[in-house]
């Protein structure tokens, strides 16, 4: 994409964000209060981390539907480790390890054995949810949470930012460096764009696919750590709310910026969180906001697909010529 086209898209994004913010602000001035912006950014952190991991999988043109289940399993693993008195670092490490392990398993099945990604990850996600019941028969875990220091992850501050947002920015920086600044990023994109030509260029295509799934699992579990820290309890359905916002963020970002990338995903997440937060503030019931998020996701997919956007453009111009 040329520089000027990119600039136009960035300006358009900023413009849309401003319009949405103004709309909500006009309905409820509390929308732009410091407290609400901080809440918004914390909310964005959880969804943003999950979306960051998913970005890698989308870049290699695959799908991961297991990460919500894996995140639940990660949450319960971490909760159990804290409850049995393990130090916080071990507990978080355990939760992240679960994500990495499931991600690698997904990657191996999809890349090495060429199993269909959607069905495979639905299955592994179901498996992970099943495992998450083992620790407590499905009841939520919060024993020792207060003493462990876990809640500080949500409440603490870092360089003037809330910690969750600092973690998101750190992860995004690292992810951006890998995907856009390193040779591995090139290999991820080459794998997604044209796996045959990537293979002929010596790119380890299977390893890149496996790595993308592993990163996705890891990020989902990192995101669930933040979620558990903010809610103060680990439960078996913790991850289910990650699925749609993450997909919506990646696709919305792609639609906004013309291709899947880390900045695009961050922008998509921000847009989603802005809307969800605004609806909450306006006391719109959550099932309406779910419906709105889903609608946005469908529009984003349509916008991302050149065939659909081309058809819309053609239909519009036809209408113009008729009129």
């Amino acid at each position: 994409m040329t520089r000027s086209a990119l600039l136009v898209r960035i300006l358009a994004f900023v413009g849309v964000v401003c319009v949405i913010a103004l709309l909500f602000w006009s309905q409820n001035p509390a929308f732009l209060s410091t407290g609400n912006i901080r809440a918004l950014l914390r909310h964005m952190s959880v969804n943003g981390l999950a979306a960051l991991g998913l970005t890698f999988v989308i870049v290699v043109r695959h799908y991961d539907l297991s990460f919500p289940g894996v995140a639940s399993f990660g949450a319960m693993t971490m909760g159990w480790l804290i409850a049995v008195g393990q130090p916080l670092a071990v507990a978080i490490g355990g939760g992240l390890f679960v994500g990495l392990l499931f991600g690698l398993a997904n990657g191996a099945m999809v890349a090495r054995f060429k199993l269909p990604d959607i069905v495979t990850t639905i299955a592994t996600g179901g498996l992970a949810i099943g495992f998450s019941y083992f620790y407590s028969n499905g009841t939520s875990i919060s024993k020792n949470f207060f003493m462990s220091g876990l809640l500080d992850i949500n409440d603490g501050r870092f360089l003037g930012m809330d910690r969750p947002f600092a973690i998101l920015l750190g992860a995004a920086l690292l992810g951006g460096l890998i995907l856009h600044g390193s040779r591995f990023g090139r290999a991820f994109y080459a794998t997604g764009e044209n796996p045959v030509s990537a293979y002929y260029s010596g790119v380890p295509v299977r390893a890149m696919i496996a790595a993308a799934f592993a990163i996705c699992g890891l990020c989902a579990c990192l995101s669930i750590v933040l979620l558990v820290a903010s809610s103060g309890a680990a439960n078996v359905s913790a991850g289910t709310q990650l699925l749609m916002p993450a997909f919506a963020a990646v696709y919305l970002g792609s639609a906004l910026f013309g291709r899947t990338s880390i900045p695009a995903t961050l922008a998509g997440t921000m847009m989603m969180s802005l809307m969800l937060n605004g609806f909450t503030l306006l006391a719109i019931p959550y099932f309406y906001s779910d419906a709105i998020v889903s609608t946005v996701l469908i529009l984003a997919i349509a916008g991302f697909d050149p065939r659909v956007s081309g058809a819309i453009r053609a239909a519009l111009s036809r209408k113009e010529t008729l009129a």
Partner: protein, 504 residues
């Protein structure tokens, strides 16, 4: 043109973007004849067939069948006009029986989702159709368990299931058949011909033309260059190979090299893969270009992939700098110093959505990065230097590859190879869809490369191989016709590759 044609196509034109696939083509087909269509890849014969079968719509010209004008344009319209097509690789459902495949899509007389499929009726109708031919096959058997020729016959019966079929198009039906299987297919074609059907038969094998066809038409560069009766061409009165190939202007090719003392870089000894190619002995030296000519189906494509590690040989060995090597993947071949410029650049050579810098550097990410991080400035400078060396037009490094012409896309693939700095360069079909100016540049680059590396060019274009290579050999049905030689004439090479006569 003849007036007694059953099918008469006149002044047919078809353009894709800025490529004129067909121009002013006249074509006539009679009832009860088998008419062979000949031509190298890209000559226009498949475009003509796709217009007849309604896959493409024509841009210009008229089509008449039995005197009646047809627009065609959709597969449905072609079927209604009585045109039946058997694709090169017919799509049959392996789990269903032959009879069920023949009537796939019209299992029941009655419409509707719940209409019962009458298996007995289907079997009876399929048998009735089959009984029109002197052939015995078991139509109750799942197609997946049938032999290649039985599948082909099922595909033909599927095409002929409609009562109104009067023109049958067979697209390279023999490509997967053995010699004996071919005879039973030819028997079926003779019967159809006797029943008054008009048959268009596409093939790459000239011997089959003499065996089965009544007339043939040769396509070249989107035009019908000649239509003759087969008996006119018998005895060499008309040279079909010469009709098929363009006379390429000599100045496209760089001067040949006389060096024979170059260091041996890459060797193949007795290389073979079952049913694909066998007994390949090659020696690629620095300072000269080695050429291999072979038609589609000659095993050329598989050979190139075996040299690059995409496929593994069943017999024989490869040597690089005198050491035996075994490539299990392209990554290993690249690491050892072998680079392949693949025959299909869109699917094997390039990421079409990515820009020039990305594509130039992607085969050597180690060189493009330091400590794992990309060196953006240097990569850009390197890509610019290579773009200048291959004369990329326009020199827009940020432009996605799909925005370049075919010739310039191919130049980027070459630049990608140059960036890799390999010891062996294998070019497969290097100038398909490449305009004449870019062709000369690419041949010049091959010559330039041969100064420092071993260069092998493999192509189904005889003149290209003969023009650019210093030593040539033809591959015919998987076997090399002699060993690579410097003093082969173009006609020898051509006949060896098309007819299979070993050179002297």
């Amino acid at each position: 043109m003849e007036t007694d044609s059953f099918l008469s196509m006149r002044g047919i034109g078809k353009t894709f973007g800025d490529v004129r696939a067909l121009r002013e083509v006249d074509f006539g087909l009679r009832r009860g004849e088998i008419h062979a269509l000949l031509g190298v890849n890209g000559a226009g014969k498949s475009t003509l067939i796709k217009i007849l079968s309604g896959v493409y719509s024509k841009d210009a010209g008229s089509i008449r069948i039995a005197g009646e004008e047809f627009a065609l344009g959709t597969p449905r319209a072609a079927i209604d006009a009585g045109i039946a097509v058997v694709q090169q690789h017919p799509e049959l459902v392996g789990d269903l029986s032959g009879a069920e495949n023949i009537f796939l899509g019209q299992e029941s007389e009655r419409p509707g989702f719940l209409a019962r499929v009458d298996h007995a009726e289907i079997r009876r109708k399929a048998q009735a159709l089959l009984s029109r031919f002197p052939i015995e096959i078991d139509l109750g058997k799942p197609v997946g368990e049938m032999s290649a020729v039985d599948r082909e016959i099922v595909a033909i019966l599927h095409a002929l299931r409609l009562e109104n079929a009067r023109i049958l198009i067979l697209d390279e039906p023999t490509s997967t058949l053995t010699e004996r299987e071919k005879q039973s297919l030819f028997g079926m074609m003779e019967t159809l011909k006797a029943q008054g059907l008009a048959i268009i038969y596409i093939t790459h094998h000239l011997d089959e033309v003499f065996e089965i066809a009544d007339r043939f038409t040769v396509f070249r560069g989107g035009r019908n260059v000649a239509t003759h009766r087969v008996d006119e061409a018998r005895g060499g009165a008309i040279s079909i190979p010469n009709l098929m190939l363009d006379t390429v202007a000599g100045h496209v090719f760089p001067p040949h090299s006389d060096r024979t003392d170059g260091q041996v870089v890459f060797e193949a000894r007795g290389l073979g893969r079952t049913d694909e190619f066998r007994g390949i002995d090659l020696t690629a030296r620095k300072g000269e270009i080695l050429g291999i000519f072979g038609l589609v189906g000659s095993g050329l494509d598989e050979l190139s992939k075996t040299l690059f590690g995409v496929l593994q040989p069943d017999t024989g060995e490869l040597r690089l700098h005198g050491q035996p090597v075994m490539f299990r993947s392209p990554a290993q071949a690249l690491k050892a110093g072998v680079f392949l410029v693949p025959g299909d650049r869109r699917t094997e050579g390039l990421s079409m959505q990515e820009d020039v810098v990305f594509n130039t550097t992607v085969a050597n990410l180690g060189r493009a990065s330091a400590g794992g991080f990309l060196r953006f400035g240097r990569n850009r400078r390197d890509a610019m230097a290579l773009a200048e060396r291959v004369d990329l037009q326009p020199r827009k490094l940020n432009r996605p590859l799909r925005g370049f012409s075919g010739g310039n896309q191919q130049k980027v693939v070459v630049a990608k190879g140059l960036y890799r700095q390999s010891d062996v360069y294998i070019f497969v079909e290097p100038t398909v869809g490449v305009d004449i100016g870019a062709r000369a540049k690419i041949y010049g680059l091959m010559r330039e490369l041969s100064e420092t590396a071993a260069v092998i060019v493999m192509s189904s274009d005889c003149d290209e191989v003969f023009g650019v290579a210093d030593r040539c050999v033809a591959l015919y049905k998987g076997a090399p016709m002699g060993s690579p030689s410097r003093d082969l004439t173009r006609d020898h090479l051509l006949h060896a590759g098309i007819m299979g006569d070993p050179a002297r």
